[in-house]
Amino acid sequence: MSTQALPDLERSRRSPAVVAVSLIGPLTVVAGGVWAFVQPYRLTFLDPAGHGFWSLAVEPPLLVVLVGVLFHLVVAPGIVEDVAAAEAETDP
């Protein structure tokens, strides 16, 4: 592992593009949370009686939160590393 990589990563984490990418996931989670708060009836698990399997398995606000979490954990970290690598190549 290159010792130069860590400072590059730290510096790139402050670049506006990386900050914006890092915010996509959390903002999506917040959007799902706000939606659940404004329309709690879209969360059928809060009142499961009378709902079938699909209504309980597919709850839109939770799907939004799930997508935000997955983007933040799976997609965003790699982008941050690749921005650092690209910056290191162009500005050695």
Binding site: V21, I79, D82
Partner: protein, 192 residues
């Protein structure tokens, strides 16, 4: 154990949300950085192709009239063509950049299908409103992606493309089987 139509729309909305967030990420860091990992380059075309595949069972199990069935069949084909062409371009099997025109073509066909097969006015019901809104969003998306073919690195058009996907997701998440729109629900629209 077939899911209700609204549930299927929400699952497709989730797919469009994934596409929109990824396109937004690519817009922010640029295609060069985005494509440093090959799986990211394949993400949006593969998702579009997969959503086109899943549209076929939707066409078979969830359509209640011939025109409704035809519209879903057209979407399935359009999404698969656009996804497959983009997969070919990313893989390098296709070299001609004119294959990028499959995306605006797919969006234009999808928009036309939405608008033609919805025969009720905007405020007939929520589903009717969403069909009109989705149709016009797809046509706007066709214009944006056509502009992207001319200026592929334009941040404005790339951001616009991402916003089209996010608009699709939002509109599809709003769908219900039978529901009013802005307080309007035609008595002919069925019962909740």
């Amino acid at each position: 154990m077939i899911p209700p139509a609204e549930t299927v729309h929400w699952l497709f909305a989730t797919g469009f949300l994934v596409l929109g967030l990824c396109q937004l990420g690519e817009t922010l860091v640029g295609s060069t950085v985005w494509e440093r990992r090959r799986w990211r380059a394949y993400l949006w075309p593969a998702t579009a192709f997969g959503m086109g595949l899943f549209m076929w069972p939707v066409m078979v199990f969830f359509t209640s009239s011939a025109i409704h069935m035809l519209a879903h069949g057209v979407w399935a084909q359009a999404m698969m063509v656009a996804g497959a062409a983009q997969l070919g371009l990313v893989r390098g099997k296709l070299q001609n950049q004119l294959w990028n025109l499959t995306v605006p073509f797919a969006l234009a066909v999808s928009g036309a299908a939405f608008l033609i097969h919805e025969q009720n006015p905007w405020l007939f019901s929520r589903a009717a409103f969403l069909h009109h809104a989705l149709g016009w969003t797809a046509l706007v998306g066709a214009g944006i992606t056509l502009s992207l073919c001319v200026r592929p690195r334009s941040p404005v058009f790339n951001a616009g493309f991402a916003l089209v996907f996010l608009a699709f997701a939002t509109l599809l998440f709003c769908d219900r089987n039978v529901a009013p729109i802005f307080g309007h629900l035609s008595p002919l629209a069925g019962t909740r």
